[in-house]
């Protein structure tokens, strides 16, 4: 079996991305945790993807054993990442690629960093952590060589997707993930990204309480939910059907056995039976390749199952920024109201202060003066905050929507390709079936 390339088609991706305008620059300047264009990133030009300059692949997988955090022996798999400058290859020389080993948990760390750092982008997903949607013959074991191989392809796909993204590909941490074996983890932690991650509670709260989210994002979130639900269902149904199909083919192997035994007691019929039996065996064996191909299709669907999650994450982040804006605005309004009440002496809204002042007498003019001054400061700060958050929100919506549009196009293209490749698989399966049964028919007619 040759190494299977990931589904990602570099050429088409680039074709699609070129007209995309990267609005990252504008957003970045206002936000401290975004990567600025570091002069050290010599290899990456502005506005293009890393992939134009560098060949990336996940070439191999290997088992390792070592001591883990709690000092226990564990076995894990590492993957070899190879990189090579594009220019070098096209010049005719074929230098040895740079390479380093990474394990799955490091990929996870990279992705978490990207999620926190670029919350307005639909971050490409990793292949599944544990085998799901498994049918009986397929192993659920993470150490199973078939699973490892499919994961290798999935990881390569992930890297290629990141490297071809107009914004993500220029990330420093991503670049060092590909090039610096030692100390990368420390570098990531040093960015302090973990502190910037939104707590789930905060996010959930925002989702429930936000009053005016952008309609498009609400629709997108809903779409993400539907996509996840329907792809899950499709994967489940497909896995069950694959299981059954396996059974159908394999039972035909019994024909082979019985025909062979029967041919032993027949004179004229013997040859025809015997050779027909061989074709039945071939038919039974052919299902293994067929279903392996279908797993590849399932992996393509799974990628978009997980992409749906990334899409929803962007929408949730929008809800959060919008909510925080709304909170700031609400706070400002209430402070302004308080000022008005204090200035005019009228109590328009029920407040404990109002009640107590009625009961125990009004404050002294000095006290009122002090309060008013404080309020004015707060209001000033509040207005700044609202302006800030408003800008944040607008920028987020602008950048996120651009990436969502980019994602939509990519999804439509990729899934259409996947459906086409599924049809091609079915055609191949039918052709094999026709061949086997025609051969069997010939043998039977010689019975």
């Amino acid at each position: 079996r040759g190494k299977r390339r990931s589904t990602y088609d570099r050429n088409t991706e680039e074709q699609m991305l070129e007209p995309t305008i990267c609005s990252l620059r504008g957003y970045c300047s206002g936000i401290e945790y975004c990567d600025s264009l570091d002069q050290n990133l010599q290899m990456v030009e502005k506005g293009t993807s890393l992939l134009k300059k560098m060949e990336i692949s996940v070439a191999e997988a290997e088992k390792r054993t070592g001591k883990n955090a709690v000092n226990m022996q564990e076995t894990y798999t590492v993957y070899l990442i190879e990189t090579r400058p594009v220019d070098a290859a096209s010049e005719g020389t074929n230098p040895v690629p740079d390479s380093l080993w990474r394990r799955y948990s490091e990929f996870e760390l990279l992705r978490n960093y990207l999620l926190v750092t670029y919350p307005f982008l639909v971050v490409p997903p990793l292949p599944e952590k544990r085998a799901e949607f498994v049918w009986h013959k397929l192993s659920a074991d993470n150490m199973d060589p078939d699973f490892v191989e499919r994961r290798r392809v999935g990881l390569e796909n992930f890297l290629l997707r990141v490297a071809s993204h107009p914004d993500l590909s220029s990330d420093k941490i991503f670049y060092s993930f590909l090039t610096e074996e030692n100390g990368w983890k420390e570098t990531v932690f040093e960015t302090g990204f973990q502190a910037k991650a939104d707590s789930r509670l905060k996010a959930l709260n925002a989702t429930f309480r936000v009053k005016n989210p952008d309609k498009r994002f609400a629709e997108m979130k809903h779409y993400g939910d539907e996509l996840q639900s329907v792809i899950s269902q499709l994967l489940r149904v497909r896995a069950r059907a694959a299981d059954r199909l396996y059974g159908v083919y394999k039972v035909h192997g019994n024909y082979g056995r019985v025909f062979s035994e029967w041919s032993a007691i027949e004179k004229e019929m013997g040859d025809g039976l015997q050779s027909a039996g061989h074709h039945m065996d071939a038919y039974a064996a052919s299902v293994d390749d067929i279903l392996e191909e279908e797993e590849h299709y399932a992996d393509q669907l799974k990628e978009y199952l997980f992409y749906a999650d990334a899409l929803r994450a962007v929408c949730r982040k929008h809800e959060l920024t919008q909510y925080e804006l709304e909170m700031a605005a609400q706070d400002l309004t209430s402070k302004k109201q308080q000022r008005e009440e204090l200035a005019t002496g009228t109590i328009r809204t029920f407040s404990l202060k109002g009640v107590t002042s009625k009961l125990f007498g009004q404050e002294t003019p000095e006290q009122r003066e002090a309060k008013l001054k404080m309020l004015e400061t707060q209001i000033e700060e509040g207005e700044e905050l609202v302006k800030e958050r408003n800008a944040e929100c607008e920028e987020f919506v602008k950048s996120a929507w651009v990436d969502i549009e980019r994602f939509k196009e990519q999804k439509d293209h990729d899934l259409r390709e996947a459906l086409i490749s599924y049809a091609i698989m079915q055609i191949s399966m039918c052709k094999k079936g026709i061949q086997v049964w025609n051969n069997a028919k010939e043998c039977f007619s010689k019975m």
Partner: protein, 463 residues
């Protein structure tokens, strides 16, 4: 088969002239006694196995008919079974089938007949043929009761499957050189219901049939001593064949089960793609298209499953029943031989007794009482021996007849079996090819639609 069945040749002379040359195995030496009467071949077999009045042939000429008149190309009788109908009476409900016959045979009064028959009538016919020809192979009937998986006796599928099997049964009878000229067969095909009922009442009585059974059991208990090698080989073959055909039946049923389960799962795929298409814009069209393709493949798979159930499984099942028939035929042949062996032994014993007795008598009585009482006794013994001799000759005839009939019919059966099973498997393979071809067309049309779409939009490069 053409020509009249009635052949009035009666062979005389000693028995060796009547034995056709293709009888292998032992030829019994029956010429030891000079005072044996030359006897003519009896046209009826004794001991209750009735033989139709029209069968005026000797075994020899019958076997000649086997060898030379077997070509199926000059088929002169066509039988169909169709049009099942339900009949309700006060006592029971049953199904009748229309049996249509078209023939050019002279022994039929007309060239076309149409009658209605129920399953019981088929059973009766089969029984009659087996009685008349215990060592010929009668094609099996579909089973009396419902096979596993079905509950309702009057279920449409069950009736249709049975109808097809009954049709095959009658055609096998019509194609058989001996059976097709059976009077019972003719009556079955042509008589009105009332006539058939009264004809059924004739034939060997209950008691003689009982006598048959008793003799058969006795013979079975006794067992056969010198079974000819070829029949032992036949039995071994039948044992092995039976196992293989049962296995094939089981494997095929298992395939049907697995395919049904596959179909159940596949039926959910199409709707899932359709559901997905509702959330999409650009992808809606290809997704709907795929949903349609999957649904069409489902239909083809459903048909494929039905084909297997309707065509391959019944044939395999019939040959499972055939294997049982063959075992029964071999058993009956063995019984006939056992009967003959027993009678041979009995006669030998009797003769030995006569000899010893005569010696003893002549010594003891010669001087004392003279010859007359001894002569009387001798005369009596002679009579008994003659009777036993007659019996034995008949048994020998029956055995020869049975062996030859079986051997010829065995060759015939093997040919028919080979043809039937070959065409059943070829048919199955063809249907499988057709199934895959149809599914192939479905998916190719999808690809084509995507290609024309894409090329129109300038989107995708299919190289």
């Amino acid at each position: 088969m053409s020509g009249s069945v009635v052949d009035n040749t009666v062979s005389s002379g000693n028995s060796s002239a009547a034995i056709p040359t293709d009888v292998s195995g032992q030829i019994l030496d029956l010429d030891e006694d000079d005072d044996l009467e030359v006897f003519s071949k009896d046209t009826t077999l004794t001991d209750g196995s009735s033989f139709n009045a029209s069968m005026q042939t000797s075994p020899a000429s019958m076997i000649n008919q086997y060898k030379f008149e077997e070509d199926a190309d000059t088929k002169d009788i066509f039988v169909t079974v169709d049009n099942p109908e339900s009949h309700v009476t006060a006592i029971e409900t049953y199904i009748t089938y229309r049996v249509m016959t078209k023939t050019t045979r002279s022994e039929f009064d007309s060239s076309e007949f149409e009658v209605r028959r129920r399953y019981q009538d088929f059973l009766w016919l089969k029984g009659r043929l087996e009685e008349a020809h215990p060592t010929l192979i009668v094609h099996p009937l579909p089973e009396k009761f419902v096979v596993k998986g079905m509950v309702e006796r009057f279920n449409e599928d069950f009736i249709e499957t049975r109808r097809r099997a009954l049709h095959r049964f009658l055609n096998k009878i019509a194609e058989h050189p001996i059976f097709s000229s059976s009077e019972d067969f003719k009556i079955f095909l042509t008589a009105a219901s009332g006539e058939l009922t009264s004809h059924k009442k004739q034939g060997p009585g209950f008691l003689s049939r009982m006598g048959d059974t008793v003799k058969a059991v006795a013979a079975a208990v006794r067992g056969v001593r010198n079974r000819p090698q070829e029949f032992t080989e036949m039995q071994e073959y039948v044992e092995a064949f039976s196992q293989k055909i049962i296995s094939l039946d089981k494997v095929t049923q298992r395939i049907v089960r697995e395919q049904k389960e596959y179909l159940e799962e596949l039926k959910e795929c199409g709707p899932t793609y359709a559901l997905w298409s509702q959330s999409e814009e650009e992808l809606a069209e290809p997704l709907k298209n795929v949903a349609g393709c999957v649904d069409r493949c489902c239909k083809e798979t459903e048909e494929q499953v039905k084909n297997l159930s309707d065509h391959l499984i019944p044939v395999l099942h019939e040959y499972v029943l055939c294997a049982d028939t063959l075992k029964a035929v071999l058993r009956r042949r063995d019984n006939i031989q056992a009967d003959f062996e027993a009678k041979t032994e009995a006669l030998a014993t009797k003769k030995a007794n006569r000899d010893t007795e005569s010696k003893v008598l002549s010594l003891a009585w010669a001087s004392l009482v003279g010859r007359s009482p001894e002569e009387v006794k001798q005369q009596k013994l002679k009579g008994e021996i003659k009777e036993m001799r007659d019996d034995l000759d008949k048994a020998e005839d029956r055995l020869e007849w049975a062996n030859n009939a079986l051997k010829s019919d065995w060759t015939r059966w093997q040919k028919v079996m080979r043809t039937d099973l070959r065409s059943a498997f070829v048919d199955t393979a063809e249907r499988n090819v057709s199934y895959y071809e149809k599914c192939l067309a479905v998916w190719e049309s999808f690809l084509h639609s995507q290609r024309t779409d894409a090329e129109g939009n300038g989107k995708v490069d299919f190289s």
